[in-house]
Amino acid sequence: MRFTLNIWRQNGPNENGRFISYEAYDVSPRMSFLEMLDGVNQGLVANGEEPVAFEHDCREGICGSCSLVIDGIPHGPDRGITTCQLYMRRFPDGAIITIEPWRAAAFPIVKDLVVDRSALDRVMQAGGYVSVNTGGAVDGNALLIGKDQAETAMDAASCIGCGACVAACKNASAMLFVAAKVSHLALLPQGKPERTGRVTAMIEAMDREGFGSCGNQYECEAVCPKRISVRFIATLNREYRRAGIVESALPNASESPHAESV
Protein backbone atom coordinates (compact mmCIF):
# COMPACT_ATOMS: atom_id res chain seq x y z
CA MET A 1 0.00 0.00 0.00
CA ARG A 2 1.03 3.63 -0.41
CA PHE A 3 -0.24 6.78 1.27
CA THR A 4 0.20 10.54 1.06
CA LEU A 5 0.65 12.03 4.51
CA ASN A 6 0.06 15.69 5.37
CA ILE A 7 2.04 16.03 8.59
CA TRP A 8 2.23 19.04 10.90
CA ARG A 9 5.88 20.04 11.28
CA GLN A 10 6.95 22.53 13.93
CA ASN A 11 10.53 22.93 15.14
CA GLY A 12 9.82 24.18 18.63
CA PRO A 13 7.17 25.54 21.01
CA ASN A 14 7.48 29.15 19.86
CA GLU A 15 8.03 28.57 16.16
CA ASN A 16 5.49 28.63 13.38
CA GLY A 17 4.42 25.25 12.09
CA ARG A 18 3.07 24.11 8.74
CA PHE A 19 1.89 21.02 6.95
CA ILE A 20 4.43 19.13 4.86
CA SER A 21 3.44 16.35 2.50
CA TYR A 22 5.26 12.98 2.60
CA GLU A 23 4.82 9.77 0.63
CA ALA A 24 4.73 6.43 2.45
CA TYR A 25 5.68 3.54 0.12
CA ASP A 26 5.63 -0.23 0.59
CA VAL A 27 3.29 -0.11 3.58
CA SER A 28 1.99 -3.48 4.70
CA PRO A 29 -1.71 -3.54 5.68
CA ARG A 30 -0.59 -5.34 8.86
CA MET A 31 1.51 -2.37 9.96
CA SER A 32 0.25 -0.22 12.79
CA PHE A 33 -0.07 3.51 12.16
CA LEU A 34 3.07 4.15 14.20
CA GLU A 35 5.05 1.49 12.31
CA MET A 36 4.03 3.19 9.08
CA LEU A 37 5.41 6.47 10.50
CA ASP A 38 8.60 4.63 11.57
CA GLY A 39 9.05 3.66 7.92
CA VAL A 40 8.58 7.26 6.77
CA ASN A 41 11.11 8.41 9.38
CA GLN A 42 13.68 5.82 8.23
CA GLY A 43 13.40 7.24 4.74
CA LEU A 44 13.85 10.77 6.07
CA VAL A 45 16.93 9.79 8.12
CA ALA A 46 18.43 8.00 5.10
CA ASN A 47 18.03 11.23 3.11
CA GLY A 48 19.66 13.25 5.89
CA GLU A 49 16.38 14.96 6.82
CA GLU A 50 14.96 15.53 10.29
CA PRO A 51 12.55 12.68 11.23
CA VAL A 52 8.97 13.49 12.28
CA ALA A 53 8.74 13.66 16.09
CA PHE A 54 5.78 11.76 17.56
CA GLU A 55 5.22 10.33 21.00
CA HIS A 56 4.94 6.59 21.67
CA ASP A 57 5.92 4.12 24.35
CA CYS A 58 4.23 0.78 25.02
CA ARG A 59 2.63 0.37 21.57
CA GLU A 60 0.03 -1.93 23.09
CA GLY A 61 -2.68 0.58 23.89
CA ILE A 62 -2.21 1.01 27.61
CA CYS A 63 0.36 3.75 28.27
CA GLY A 64 -1.46 6.73 26.77
CA SER A 65 1.62 8.18 25.06
CA CYS A 66 0.59 8.12 21.42
CA SER A 67 -1.36 11.19 20.51
CA LEU A 68 -2.18 11.85 16.87
CA VAL A 69 -5.21 13.51 15.36
CA ILE A 70 -5.74 11.50 12.18
CA ASP A 71 -8.05 13.02 9.56
CA GLY A 72 -9.71 15.16 12.22
CA ILE A 73 -10.28 12.45 14.83
CA PRO A 74 -8.01 11.86 17.84
CA HIS A 75 -6.59 8.29 17.65
CA GLY A 76 -8.06 7.91 14.17
CA PRO A 77 -11.22 6.45 12.68
CA ASP A 78 -11.61 3.33 14.83
CA ARG A 79 -13.36 3.45 18.18
CA GLY A 80 -12.01 2.43 21.55
CA ILE A 81 -8.35 2.19 20.55
CA THR A 82 -5.20 4.29 20.73
CA THR A 83 -3.21 5.34 17.66
CA CYS A 84 -0.72 2.48 18.13
CA GLN A 85 -3.56 -0.05 17.81
CA LEU A 86 -4.75 1.43 14.52
CA TYR A 87 -3.72 -0.65 11.50
CA MET A 88 -3.10 0.51 7.95
CA ARG A 89 -5.65 -1.97 6.57
CA ARG A 90 -8.22 0.47 7.95
CA PHE A 91 -7.30 2.95 5.19
CA PRO A 92 -7.92 2.61 1.46
CA ASP A 93 -4.77 2.26 -0.65
CA GLY A 94 -3.57 5.62 -1.91
CA ALA A 95 -5.42 7.59 0.76
CA ILE A 96 -4.36 11.11 1.71
CA ILE A 97 -4.06 11.21 5.51
CA THR A 98 -3.76 14.41 7.56
CA ILE A 99 -1.85 14.06 10.84
CA GLU A 100 -1.98 16.80 13.47
CA PRO A 101 -0.98 17.10 17.12
CA TRP A 102 -3.47 17.48 20.02
CA ARG A 103 -4.47 21.13 19.83
CA ALA A 104 -5.10 22.95 23.12
CA ALA A 105 -3.63 25.96 24.87
CA ALA A 106 -2.95 23.69 27.86
CA PHE A 107 -0.95 21.29 25.64
CA PRO A 108 1.86 23.38 24.11
CA ILE A 109 3.59 21.76 21.13
CA VAL A 110 7.10 20.54 21.95
CA LYS A 111 8.03 19.52 18.42
CA ASP A 112 6.06 18.37 15.35
CA LEU A 113 3.37 16.03 16.70
CA VAL A 114 4.61 15.91 20.32
CA VAL A 115 2.70 18.00 22.86
CA ASP A 116 3.46 18.67 26.53
CA ARG A 117 0.68 17.03 28.54
CA SER A 118 2.09 17.80 31.97
CA ALA A 119 -0.99 19.98 32.59
CA LEU A 120 -2.83 16.70 33.25
CA ASP A 121 -0.12 15.69 35.74
CA ARG A 122 -0.52 18.98 37.59
CA VAL A 123 -4.29 18.41 37.77
CA MET A 124 -3.52 14.98 39.30
CA GLN A 125 -1.06 16.50 41.78
CA ALA A 126 -3.79 18.88 42.93
CA GLY A 127 -5.99 16.07 44.22
CA GLY A 128 -5.77 12.80 42.31
CA TYR A 129 -4.22 10.83 45.15
CA VAL A 130 -5.15 8.93 48.32
CA SER A 131 -3.40 8.95 51.69
CA VAL A 132 -1.91 5.65 52.77
CA ASN A 133 -0.44 4.76 56.16
CA THR A 134 3.18 3.68 56.27
CA GLY A 135 4.13 0.46 58.02
CA GLY A 136 3.28 -3.12 57.16
CA ALA A 137 1.35 -3.73 53.98
CA VAL A 138 -2.38 -4.25 54.49
CA ASP A 139 -3.71 -7.72 53.65
CA GLY A 140 -5.27 -7.96 50.22
CA ASN A 141 -9.07 -7.58 50.23
CA ALA A 142 -9.08 -6.59 53.92
CA LEU A 143 -11.35 -3.71 52.92
CA LEU A 144 -14.60 -5.05 51.49
CA ILE A 145 -15.95 -3.26 48.43
CA GLY A 146 -19.18 -4.20 46.67
CA LYS A 147 -18.80 -5.83 43.28
CA ASP A 148 -20.87 -3.21 41.41
CA GLN A 149 -19.04 -0.37 43.07
CA ALA A 150 -15.65 -1.89 42.31
CA GLU A 151 -16.66 -2.41 38.66
CA THR A 152 -17.87 1.18 38.27
CA ALA A 153 -14.71 2.52 39.90
CA MET A 154 -12.67 0.36 37.53
CA ASP A 155 -14.60 1.72 34.52
CA ALA A 156 -13.48 5.21 35.55
CA ALA A 157 -9.98 4.09 36.54
CA SER A 158 -9.32 2.67 33.08
CA CYS A 159 -8.46 6.22 31.93
CA ILE A 160 -4.88 6.18 30.63
CA GLY A 161 -4.57 9.98 30.60
CA CYS A 162 -3.81 10.28 26.89
CA GLY A 163 -5.72 13.55 26.53
CA ALA A 164 -7.80 12.52 23.50
CA CYS A 165 -10.87 13.91 25.32
CA VAL A 166 -9.21 17.34 25.39
CA ALA A 167 -8.14 17.01 21.76
CA ALA A 168 -11.65 16.06 20.60
CA CYS A 169 -13.52 18.66 22.63
CA LYS A 170 -14.63 21.78 20.78
CA ASN A 171 -13.64 23.73 23.90
CA ALA A 172 -10.46 21.75 24.70
CA SER A 173 -12.04 20.82 28.02
CA ALA A 174 -10.48 18.19 30.29
CA MET A 175 -13.79 17.34 31.98
CA LEU A 176 -13.84 13.65 31.01
CA PHE A 177 -10.30 13.17 32.33
CA VAL A 178 -11.02 14.96 35.63
CA ALA A 179 -14.39 13.22 35.87
CA ALA A 180 -12.78 9.79 35.48
CA LYS A 181 -10.18 10.50 38.17
CA VAL A 182 -12.60 12.09 40.64
CA SER A 183 -15.26 9.37 40.13
CA HIS A 184 -12.76 6.57 40.46
CA LEU A 185 -11.53 7.78 43.84
CA ALA A 186 -14.90 9.03 45.13
CA LEU A 187 -16.42 5.58 44.59
CA LEU A 188 -13.85 3.72 46.70
CA PRO A 189 -13.44 3.80 50.50
CA GLN A 190 -9.72 4.57 50.09
CA GLY A 191 -10.66 7.84 48.40
CA LYS A 192 -13.14 9.01 51.02
CA PRO A 193 -10.80 11.01 53.36
CA GLU A 194 -9.90 13.51 50.62
CA ARG A 195 -13.20 13.26 48.76
CA THR A 196 -14.45 16.80 49.40
CA GLY A 197 -11.21 18.70 48.92
CA ARG A 198 -10.17 16.64 45.91
CA VAL A 199 -12.90 17.66 43.51
CA THR A 200 -12.57 21.37 44.31
CA ALA A 201 -8.78 21.29 44.02
CA MET A 202 -8.82 19.33 40.75
CA ILE A 203 -11.39 21.61 39.11
CA GLU A 204 -9.46 24.68 40.26
CA ALA A 205 -6.30 23.15 38.78
CA MET A 206 -8.16 22.30 35.55
CA ASP A 207 -9.31 25.93 35.20
CA ARG A 208 -5.83 27.22 36.09
CA GLU A 209 -4.22 25.16 33.32
CA GLY A 210 -6.39 26.87 30.72
CA PHE A 211 -8.68 24.00 29.69
CA GLY A 212 -12.11 25.05 28.39
CA SER A 213 -15.47 24.21 29.90
CA CYS A 214 -17.71 21.27 29.06
CA GLY A 215 -20.40 21.78 26.40
CA ASN A 216 -21.96 18.32 26.83
CA GLN A 217 -21.38 17.40 23.18
CA TYR A 218 -19.86 14.06 24.22
CA GLU A 219 -17.17 14.05 21.50
CA CYS A 220 -14.78 13.01 24.30
CA GLU A 221 -16.64 9.77 24.94
CA ALA A 222 -16.71 9.02 21.21
CA VAL A 223 -12.90 9.17 20.87
CA CYS A 224 -11.84 7.82 24.28
CA PRO A 225 -9.63 4.77 23.68
CA LYS A 226 -10.95 3.32 26.95
CA ARG A 227 -14.56 4.26 26.16
CA ILE A 228 -15.02 6.11 29.42
CA SER A 229 -18.64 7.15 29.80
CA VAL A 230 -19.78 10.77 30.08
CA ARG A 231 -21.95 9.65 32.99
CA PHE A 232 -18.81 10.23 35.06
CA ILE A 233 -19.04 13.91 34.08
CA ALA A 234 -22.46 13.95 35.76
CA THR A 235 -20.82 12.26 38.76
CA LEU A 236 -18.14 14.98 38.78
CA ASN A 237 -20.83 17.67 38.67
CA ARG A 238 -22.58 16.03 41.64
CA GLU A 239 -19.32 15.68 43.56
CA TYR A 240 -18.54 19.35 42.95
CA ARG A 241 -21.96 20.44 44.20
CA ARG A 242 -21.58 18.24 47.26
CA ALA A 243 -18.16 19.74 47.96
CA GLY A 244 -19.61 23.24 47.67
CA ILE A 245 -22.22 22.47 50.31
CA VAL A 246 -19.81 20.65 52.65
CA GLU A 247 -16.96 23.15 52.34
CA SER A 248 -19.12 26.22 52.87
CA ALA A 249 -20.02 24.81 56.29
CA LEU A 250 -16.37 24.30 57.32
CA PRO A 251 -14.68 26.92 59.53
CA ASN A 252 -12.09 29.11 57.84
CA ALA A 253 -8.49 28.09 58.45
CA SER A 254 -7.85 31.37 60.26
CA GLU A 255 -10.50 30.67 62.89
CA SER A 256 -9.45 29.09 66.15
CA PRO A 257 -10.61 25.48 66.30
CA HIS A 258 -11.53 25.97 69.99
CA ALA A 259 -13.60 29.12 69.56
CA GLU A 260 -17.25 28.82 70.58
CA SER A 261 -19.64 28.66 67.70
CA VAL A 262 -21.83 31.70 67.25
Binding site: V69, A105, A168, A172, G212, G215, N216, T235, N237, R238
Partner: protein
Protein backbone atom coordinates in the same frame (compact mmCIF):
# COMPACT_ATOMS: atom_id res chain seq x y z
CA UNK B 1 -20.26 32.49 52.16
CA UNK B 2 -17.14 33.63 50.28
CA UNK B 3 -16.26 29.98 49.86
CA UNK B 4 -19.65 29.26 48.30
CA UNK B 5 -19.26 32.31 46.06
CA UNK B 6 -15.83 31.20 44.85
CA UNK B 7 -17.35 27.79 44.11
CA UNK B 8 -19.62 29.40 41.52
CA UNK B 9 -16.72 31.21 39.87
CA UNK B 10 -15.09 28.06 38.52
CA UNK B 11 -15.98 26.75 35.07
CA UNK B 12 -18.20 24.03 36.56
CA UNK B 13 -19.87 26.47 38.98
CA UNK B 14 -20.57 28.96 36.17
CA UNK B 15 -22.11 26.18 34.15
CA UNK B 16 -24.42 25.28 37.03
CA UNK B 17 -25.66 28.88 37.12
CA UNK B 18 -25.96 28.89 33.33
CA UNK B 19 -28.00 25.69 33.46
CA UNK B 20 -30.28 26.90 36.27
CA UNK B 21 -30.92 30.28 34.60
CA UNK B 22 -31.55 28.50 31.30
CA UNK B 23 -34.03 26.07 32.84
CA UNK B 24 -35.77 29.03 34.46
CA UNK B 25 -36.13 30.70 31.06
CA UNK B 26 -37.36 27.45 29.48
CA UNK B 27 -40.10 27.16 32.11
CA UNK B 28 -41.13 30.75 31.30
CA UNK B 29 -41.22 29.91 27.59
CA UNK B 30 -43.54 26.95 28.27
CA UNK B 31 -45.78 29.08 30.50
CA UNK B 32 -45.84 31.83 27.83
CA UNK B 33 -46.82 29.35 25.14
CA UNK B 34 -49.62 27.82 27.24
CA UNK B 35 -50.99 31.29 27.96
CA UNK B 36 -50.93 32.24 24.30
CA UNK B 37 -52.73 29.06 23.24
CA UNK B 38 -55.86 30.68 24.70
CA UNK B 39 -56.05 32.48 21.37
CA UNK B 40 -57.88 29.35 20.18
CA UNK B 41 -60.59 29.98 22.79
CA UNK B 42 -61.46 33.27 21.15
CA UNK B 43 -60.95 36.97 21.86
CA UNK B 44 -62.86 36.92 25.15
CA UNK B 45 -60.60 34.32 26.83
CA UNK B 46 -57.29 35.76 25.64
CA UNK B 47 -58.12 39.40 26.39
CA UNK B 48 -59.40 38.49 29.85
CA UNK B 49 -56.18 36.52 30.49
CA UNK B 50 -54.10 39.53 29.38
CA UNK B 51 -56.16 41.80 31.60
CA UNK B 52 -55.73 39.38 34.52
CA UNK B 53 -51.94 39.65 34.19
CA UNK B 54 -52.16 43.44 34.13
CA UNK B 55 -54.41 43.51 37.19
CA UNK B 56 -51.41 42.39 39.25
CA UNK B 57 -48.81 45.04 38.38
CA UNK B 58 -46.45 44.12 41.22
CA UNK B 59 -46.39 40.47 40.19
CA UNK B 60 -46.11 41.40 36.50
CA UNK B 61 -43.18 43.77 37.01
CA UNK B 62 -41.45 41.42 39.45
CA UNK B 63 -41.68 38.73 36.78
CA UNK B 64 -40.44 41.12 34.08
CA UNK B 65 -37.49 42.41 36.13
CA UNK B 66 -36.71 38.87 37.30
CA UNK B 67 -36.74 37.57 33.72
CA UNK B 68 -34.52 40.42 32.57
CA UNK B 69 -32.09 39.65 35.41
CA UNK B 70 -32.03 35.95 34.50
CA UNK B 71 -31.52 36.75 30.80
CA UNK B 72 -28.64 39.12 31.59
CA UNK B 73 -27.02 36.56 33.93
CA UNK B 74 -27.45 33.84 31.30
CA UNK B 75 -25.86 35.95 28.54
CA UNK B 76 -22.98 37.22 30.70
CA UNK B 77 -22.12 33.69 31.87
CA UNK B 78 -22.41 32.31 28.33
CA UNK B 79 -20.07 35.01 26.99
CA UNK B 80 -17.58 34.44 29.84
CA UNK B 81 -17.53 30.69 29.21
CA UNK B 82 -17.30 31.11 25.42
CA UNK B 83 -14.35 33.45 25.83
CA UNK B 84 -12.63 30.95 28.09
CA UNK B 85 -13.38 28.14 25.62
CA UNK B 86 -12.05 30.20 22.76
CA UNK B 87 -8.79 30.83 24.62
CA UNK B 88 -8.46 27.11 25.36
CA UNK B 89 -7.80 26.36 21.67
CA UNK B 90 -6.06 29.28 19.96
CA UNK B 91 -4.99 27.23 16.91
CA UNK B 92 -7.72 25.04 15.45
CA UNK B 93 -7.49 21.82 13.45
CA UNK B 94 -6.99 21.84 9.70
CA UNK B 95 -9.30 18.82 9.43
CA UNK B 96 -12.15 18.35 11.90
CA UNK B 97 -14.64 15.51 11.99
CA UNK B 98 -17.39 15.30 14.58
CA UNK B 99 -18.55 11.87 15.64
CA UNK B 100 -21.20 12.59 18.19
CA UNK B 101 -21.91 16.31 18.57
CA UNK B 102 -25.41 17.26 17.40
CA UNK B 103 -26.03 20.21 15.09
CA UNK B 104 -27.91 21.91 17.94
CA UNK B 105 -24.97 21.56 20.33
CA UNK B 106 -22.56 22.98 17.79
CA UNK B 107 -24.69 26.04 17.07
CA UNK B 108 -25.61 27.11 20.61
CA UNK B 109 -23.91 30.52 20.25
CA UNK B 110 -25.55 31.18 16.87
CA UNK B 111 -29.00 29.98 17.95
CA UNK B 112 -28.64 31.98 21.17
CA UNK B 113 -27.83 35.12 19.18
CA UNK B 114 -30.81 34.55 16.84
CA UNK B 115 -33.00 34.05 19.91
CA UNK B 116 -31.79 37.27 21.56
CA UNK B 117 -32.45 39.30 18.40
CA UNK B 118 -35.87 37.69 18.09
CA UNK B 119 -36.76 38.46 21.72
CA UNK B 120 -35.79 42.13 21.26
CA UNK B 121 -37.87 42.27 18.06
CA UNK B 122 -40.81 40.51 19.74
CA UNK B 123 -40.78 42.92 22.72
CA UNK B 124 -40.64 45.96 20.42
CA UNK B 125 -43.36 44.47 18.23
CA UNK B 126 -46.09 42.98 20.41
CA UNK B 127 -45.24 44.17 23.93
CA UNK B 128 -44.22 47.78 23.32
CA UNK B 129 -45.93 48.20 19.94
CA UNK B 130 -43.07 50.30 18.54
CA UNK B 131 -42.72 48.22 15.37
CA UNK B 132 -46.07 48.39 13.54
CA UNK B 133 -47.94 50.80 15.88
CA UNK B 134 -51.06 50.68 13.65
CA UNK B 135 -52.61 47.86 15.68
CA UNK B 136 -51.70 48.82 19.20
CA UNK B 137 -53.99 49.30 22.13
CA UNK B 138 -57.51 49.25 20.83
CA UNK B 139 -60.10 48.13 23.36
CA UNK B 140 -62.47 45.22 22.85
CA UNK B 141 -66.21 45.29 23.64
CA UNK B 142 -65.59 44.50 27.31
CA UNK B 143 -63.14 47.38 27.69
CA UNK B 144 -60.05 45.12 27.87
CA UNK B 145 -57.00 45.80 25.70
CA UNK B 146 -57.53 43.90 22.46
CA UNK B 147 -54.54 41.56 22.51
CA UNK B 148 -56.42 39.11 20.31
CA UNK B 149 -56.95 41.74 17.62
CA UNK B 150 -53.28 42.66 17.82
CA UNK B 151 -52.16 39.07 17.24
CA UNK B 152 -54.60 38.57 14.35
CA UNK B 153 -53.44 41.81 12.74
CA UNK B 154 -49.74 40.94 13.18
CA UNK B 155 -49.76 37.44 11.73
CA UNK B 156 -51.64 38.37 8.58
CA UNK B 157 -48.38 39.99 7.45
CA UNK B 158 -46.18 37.35 5.73
CA UNK B 159 -42.96 39.17 6.69
CA UNK B 160 -43.86 39.12 10.39
CA UNK B 161 -44.87 35.45 10.11
CA UNK B 162 -41.50 34.61 8.51
CA UNK B 163 -39.56 36.46 11.23
CA UNK B 164 -41.52 34.73 14.00
CA UNK B 165 -41.06 31.28 12.47
CA UNK B 166 -37.29 31.88 12.17
CA UNK B 167 -37.28 33.00 15.81
CA UNK B 168 -39.11 29.83 16.82
CA UNK B 169 -36.61 27.67 14.92
CA UNK B 170 -33.77 29.44 16.76
CA UNK B 171 -35.59 28.81 20.03
CA UNK B 172 -36.15 25.14 19.20
CA UNK B 173 -32.55 24.57 18.19
CA UNK B 174 -31.27 26.21 21.38
CA UNK B 175 -33.67 24.41 23.72
CA UNK B 176 -33.07 21.08 21.96
CA UNK B 177 -29.50 20.89 23.31
CA UNK B 178 -30.00 23.14 26.33
CA UNK B 179 -32.42 21.11 28.43
CA UNK B 180 -30.64 17.74 28.27
CA UNK B 181 -27.28 19.47 28.64
CA UNK B 182 -28.49 21.35 31.74
CA UNK B 183 -29.63 18.13 33.37
CA UNK B 184 -26.14 16.65 32.83
CA UNK B 185 -24.53 19.80 34.24
CA UNK B 186 -26.73 19.53 37.31
CA UNK B 187 -25.46 15.96 37.69
CA UNK B 188 -28.78 14.25 36.92
CA UNK B 189 -27.81 10.86 35.61
CA UNK B 190 -29.35 7.50 36.38
CA UNK B 191 -29.34 4.29 34.41
CA UNK B 192 -33.14 4.01 34.58
CA UNK B 193 -33.83 7.64 33.69
CA UNK B 194 -31.08 8.53 31.18
CA UNK B 195 -33.38 8.02 28.20
CA UNK B 196 -35.85 10.43 29.73
CA UNK B 197 -33.14 13.03 30.36
CA UNK B 198 -31.84 12.63 26.82
CA UNK B 199 -35.32 13.01 25.32
CA UNK B 200 -36.17 16.00 27.51
CA UNK B 201 -34.45 18.59 25.27
CA UNK B 202 -35.94 17.55 21.91
CA UNK B 203 -39.40 16.99 23.50
CA UNK B 204 -39.55 20.40 25.15
CA UNK B 205 -38.24 22.05 21.95
CA UNK B 206 -40.87 20.29 19.82
CA UNK B 207 -43.67 21.12 22.26
CA UNK B 208 -42.80 24.83 22.34
CA UNK B 209 -42.32 25.13 18.56
CA UNK B 210 -45.56 23.28 17.79
CA UNK B 211 -47.55 25.37 20.26
CA UNK B 212 -46.21 28.72 19.13
CA UNK B 213 -46.13 28.01 15.39
CA UNK B 214 -49.70 26.67 15.59
CA UNK B 215 -50.86 30.15 16.67
CA UNK B 216 -48.92 31.90 13.92
CA UNK B 217 -50.09 29.52 11.18
CA UNK B 218 -53.69 29.46 12.42
CA UNK B 219 -53.89 33.24 12.10
CA UNK B 220 -52.08 33.30 8.76
CA UNK B 221 -54.34 30.74 7.07
CA UNK B 222 -57.40 32.33 8.60
CA UNK B 223 -58.50 29.69 11.11
CA UNK B 224 -58.21 32.29 13.86
CA UNK B 225 -59.78 35.58 12.74
Amino acid sequence: MTRLFSHFQSSVGSKVLLALSGLGLVSYVIFHMLGNLQVFEGPHALNRYAALLREMPILLWTARVGLLGIVVLHIVLALQLSLRNHRARPIGYAVRRYRRASVASRTMAASGAVLLLFIIFHLLHLTAGIIDPSASDRLDVEGHRDVYGKIVHAFQNPLIVALYVVGQLGLGLHVNHAVSSSLQTLGLEHAALNRLFKAAGPSVALLVILGNVAIIVAVFVGIVR
